[in-house]
Subunit: 343 residues, 2 copies
């Protein structure tokens, strides 16, 4: 009874004894097909539940209407916000989004790039793993003329479009705020040495100190490897031992800051009176933890949406002019003041 075969233009054509071309044109609303024929085609298509085989269309048109995004990990508020932004905007423009994770692993990232190239996606959005900067496989994307947009975790050495925030300024704002509420000795639990935004946040920290003539003390800087809750906890413990008189902490990200808060809470150290803490990213947790965490709001969703729009521009420019756009969009961040810095 049930027609198990998937309907194609051909099966419609055969049913009506007309050519595949006419069916194709009718379905696409071309003007050079008679209203009568068109209606017949439409009816049969409806009846057969026809949907175009998009693989064939992709093959024919050389566009997959699919983009790939490679990020360190989906299970992370900031990255999933980015993904959300990308998907929403992509959807609006009829693009599909394939998600690949690098798990902060350079080899994995390389493999993912190869996969996407082979998959012939129309473009790629990437947030680099902490291990990578100007690796060969990134250059390969460029060489292949595949539209590329880097987002948040970028490399300054790769010439392509980028969507970023001003990490240095944002970090400056955070530390400046700590100083303004009276902190004199501020520690920085920083990220790994390689990633650009980790570097920039560190520079922002340093600049803010400079700005207020507070001498920089490298022993107050603790570098995370995995940038996790535990490191926030452990480094704070170490910090409070090394420098019992510290009165402010700027953490590379909220997760680390929450680890810091937890240690301070455990030790009954008063926040913010004895030690003020500020994080970075503004993920949901920050607003419900006790004390509520001050932080820098990083517009993940918006960054994702912008990245897609920029990628689309790249794709069009590449098709039409055969060259890249290479624009960098810097989105604003906001200082969010909550209990952990409200003296």
């Amino acid at each position: 009874m049930k027609e198990s075969k998937v309907p194609t233009l051909k099966s419609i054509a055969e049913k009506l004894n007309i050519s595949v071309t006419t069916v194709s044109k009718a379905l696409k609303g071309y003007s050079d097909v008679s209203p009568v024929t068109r209606q017949k085609v439409l009816d049969i298509a409806e009846e057969l539940n026809y949907t175009p085989n998009s693989i064939a269309v992709n093959f024919r048109t050389k566009q997959s209407k699919t983009i790939g995004i490679i990020i360190p990990e989906v299970v992370h508020h900031f990255f999933s916000s980015i993904i959300n932004g990308v998907i929403e905007e992509a959807e609006r423009q009829n693009y599909f989004v394939i998600i690949l994770q690098s798990n902060e692993n350079k080899e994995m990232e390389k493999k993912q790039v190869e996969l996407l190239i082979s998959k012939r996606v129309d473009g790629i959005i990437m947030s680099l793993s902490n291990q990578s900067n100007d690796e060969d496989y990134l250059k390969k994307i460029i060489d292949r003329n595949i539209p590329l947009v880097l987002i948040d975790k970028i490399s300054k050495l790769i010439d392509c479009s980028k969507v970023i925030i001003d990490d240095k300024k944002a970090a400056f704002d955070a530390v400046n705020h700590l100083i303004n509420i009276g902190c004199k000795k501020i520690a920085h639990i920083r990220g790994p040495l390689n990633p650009q935004n980790s570097i920039d946040r560190f520079l922002g920290y340093k600049t803010a100190l400079d700005h207020h003539n507070i001498p920089f003390d490298s022993s107050l800087v603790y570098p995370c490897k995995r940038v996790c809750y535990e490191e926030g906890y452990d480094f704070t413990k170490q910090l409070m031992n090394d420098h019992p008189d510290v009165d402010g902490i700027f953490a590379i990200t909220d997760l680390v800051a929450v680890g810091a808060l937890t240690y301070l809470n455990d030790q009954q150290i008063k926040i913010p009176n004895q030690v003020a803490v500020i994080g970075f990213s503004n993920w949901f947790m920050s607003s419900v933890i006790s004390p509520k965490l001050s932080t820098i709001d990083q517009p993940g969703f918006k960054m994702g949406a912008q990245a897609f729009l920029l990628l689309k521009e790249e794709m069009e420019s590449m098709r039409n002019a055969g060259k890249r756009v290479c624009k960098t969009i810097t989105l604003n961040t906001d200082l969010i003041i909550r209990e952990s810095t409200s003296k």
Copy 2:
């Protein structure tokens, strides 16, 4: 200088003055090609940086090696864990994953299904929106013989493979635990009326009361619409007004439970001594909030990985035997006891 054209079998063949067939065979390691020829092909392929055009391959083999997953929203710890599991397992098996969101909207979900069907994905994994159950568009997936696996938010009315937890039992465990620590009057901030797991958790709540001969009081049940932090906060406020003597709260999910905790904290109501609170899902936040939230651990990652494996089984069964597997896998949940229920 740079070869702007993407290398194909043909370009390799031309360079070597051999046939496309031979190139194809050589690249795929067929035995009926001489070692010499093979090496030459391999060398040129390497030199040209050849990667097979997978769109063409998909077209030819009628497999896209791509699956689609439709979930309510990515920016949610549980769902992103599921995605993580799906992606990791898919990657291991050389599949790509396209992610689509329904935003808890039935119309959107329907549209996403149509898109995936048209995209000719090899299979679909879905976590249903709160609005849907046995909608036509789900049946359409079945009718089209597209492998389908429902995960977590399922419909009992659709006959396909499923990956779930035993929501009723898990909820029973949670409420049973509240009773065991001495709670006599337990409220339930439940989910919407439609979703199966919201129903099952409610039933688990009721069964646990029954089990201990505690009369069920429907006025102690508050139904969320959006299942968010604010609802947790507001319903708890309402609850404490309606029933000042309540001593336990079972919330449909951690997010709601955290809203409840916040209200109780704000009102200086002692947790757990005056009111004990337990959530559901065990997302990261629960373990760092104050007081630390007791909850039910829901293995999102594992569910996602299982869902992919089951989908693969479906895909193979469909190809080989032309029929579905329709297996239901129920994963274990764990009761996580933390401060919010440690009297």
